[in-house]
């Protein structure tokens, strides 16, 4: 039966997750050069549009429809047929439509996260095709595996709010994308300063705010579990900000604002799979480690030579993996009796399940993304011309300039 309190919380949580996407647009756009600011923002905005339509027509039923062989959902809810006021089996106190759209917001933000990897060089048309297909072929299946009655969920792996489904899948896809599309012109030669760090910080602030809807909302109702997830999320973000800034203060001699913003996001990512399963003090530990580790992870790209423009791999793949594995260690039924115990609480099996879910998600997302991009490249080309890249994508792809001459 629909409960007004649960529904109120889930309505707002859905709105909050949607608000994360403009937040992400700002977070990313502040880090690119000003000639690419609009293209970067528009990729996030347009991901909303594309995925919304795909999700309501078919993505939702593929993810949450009746399970087929543990791999994919059936077509029962094709075109939202039968999805309405009545609660679904997944959340028995909120309207079925609301569960559908809440899950849809996750489907939207996931491909938007990937855009950070190929920022400043992908053709907008290729981006559109890629996002549509990726959502169908990568996102919906993985969501089904974990949350829709598929094999990962059945195996007993825990993912409270999308550590594997959202962050690892997009992070692995980002790595694939960075490798397939290649480096930006001038990478490692020119200095590619973030053009507007306050914009990035505002984006981080919006992300943090919206993440409460993302993680606490994943309890699918209002109550103690939501409260726990809220607290774990916040503590992890705060601790990760300290972790990142401490690491860079020690390493480069300065605490940076971009580092603080990045650290917070890393902590939010790491908290995502764990939020409803671990205690507050564990959250602080997890966050601190995630912040420091992601700081070192983003510098890997310089050594390994791939150009993941905005560090989706270092933050989302690494942070998400860390969070998913940490859940296998730190989870405890003491805070959530519907959860499970992790290795530190006497149940090493959970860690195993977590590790399998991580590896499977990375492998699937990486391989399918490579194939998808290669096919798109062959058919329509992935990358703008060198001239267009130098001019900037705002002018070349959209005939717009982000900022006009002062008047």
């Amino acid at each position: 039966m629909v409960n007004t309190g649960d529904t109120a919380f889930m309505l707002i949580s859905a709105a909050l997750v949607m608000f994360m996407i403009p937040g992400l647009a700002l977070f990313y756009a502040g880090m690119v050069r000003s000639k690419n600011v609009l293209d970067t923002m528009m990729q996030s905005f347009f991901a909303i549009a594309i995925v919304t339509i795909i999700w309501v027509l078919i993505g939702y039923t593929l993810a949450f429809g009746p399970d087929k062989w543990g791999l994919i959902g059936g077509l029962k809810w094709f075109g939202l047929n039968g999805v309405g006021a009545a609660p679904s089996e997944y959340a028995e106190t909120i309207p079925g439509l609301l569960f559908m759209i809440y899950q849809g917001m996750f489907a939207m933000i996931t491909p938007a996260l990937i855009t950070g990897a190929f920022a400043e060089r992908m053709k907008f048309s290729a981006f559109v095709v890629f996002t549509a297909l990726w959502s169908l072929i990568v996102y919906s299946p993985i969501a089904h595996w974990v949350w829709g009655g598929g094999w990962i969920g059945k195996m007993g792996a825990l993912d409270f709010a999308g550590g594997t489904v959202v962050h690892i899948s997009s992070g692995a896809a980002a790595l694939a994308a960075a490798l397939v599309i290649g480096r930006r012109r001038g990478y490692k030669v020119e200095i590619m300063h973030p053009h507007n760090i306050p914009m990035t910080m505002l984006g981080a602030g919006i992300l943090w705010f919206g993440w409460f809807g993302f993680n606490a909302g994943s309890s699918l109702g209002s109550g103690s579990l939501a409260g726990l997830a809220f607290v774990v999320t916040h503590l992890s973000a705060a601790a990760a900000m300290i972790g990142w800034v401490t690491a860079e203060w020690w390493k480069s001699g300065k605490p940076t604002a971009l580092g603080a913003a990045s650290g917070a996001v890393a902590g939010l990512v790491a908290a995502t799979p764990a939020a409803g399963f671990i205690g507050p003090i564990s959250a602080i530990g997890l966050g601190f480690v995630a912040g420091a580790v992601c700081f070192f992870a983003v510098s890997l790209k310089w050594r390994l030579g791939y150009d993941d423009s905005l560090d989706v791999v270092g933050v989302h793949l690494v942070g998400g993996t860390l969070g998913a594995l940490a859940t296998g260690l730190l989870a405890t039924k003491a805070v959530n009796s519907l959860g499970d115990n992790g290795a530190f609480f006497g149940n090493p099996a959970l860690f195993g399940a977590q590790a399998i879910s991580v590896v499977a998600t990375i492998a699937y997302a990486f391989v399918i993304t490579v194939i998808l991009l290669k096919v798109i490249d062959a058919i329509m080309g992935l990358r703008v011309s060198g001239e267009d890249e130098k001019t900037g994508l705002d002018l070349s792809q959209h005939s717009e300039a982000g900022y006009a001459l002062h008047e």
């Binding site: 300065k254 971009l258 580092g259 510098s299 560090d311």
Partner: protein, 112 residues
């Protein structure tokens, strides 16, 4: 007629403008520039990557003056823009052949 161009530290602009005002300079034009010189640049750090940035924010002041005013203008700027530290900037003197006030069509001396 000469054109004086001074590259100075941004926070000295008010001082320079006021000093020039006091010696009866009635017009000047200012723009934001970035300078590269002996003053060492600074390190910038973005997500752990460190960059040595050579360019430093400066302000360029351009003033058209009559020949007889050149020395006074130069010494005034020199004094007002002085801090004694590297990077105080430069004053350049360029020859000029004429000036016109758009509004009236007045020329040269009368246009300044």
């Amino acid at each position: 007629m000469k054109k004086i161009e001074a590259i100075i530290k941004p926070f000295k602009l008010e001082d320079v403008k006021n000093a020039l005002n006091q010696i009866d300079i009635k017009g000047l034009t200012v723009s934001e520039v970035r300078g590269f010189g002996r003053q060492k640049g600074h390190k910038e750090i973005y997500r752990g990557a460190e960059y040595e940035v050579d360019f430093i924010s400066k302000v360029k002041v351009e003033i058209m003056v009559l020949d007889e005013a050149v020395d006074e203008v130069i010494s005034t700027i020199q004094e007002a823009a002085f801090t004694g530290e590297i990077g105080d900037g430069k004053i350049f003197i360029l020859p000029a052949e004429g000036a016109i006030r758009i509004r009236t069509g007045e020329r040269d001396k009368d246009a300044l």
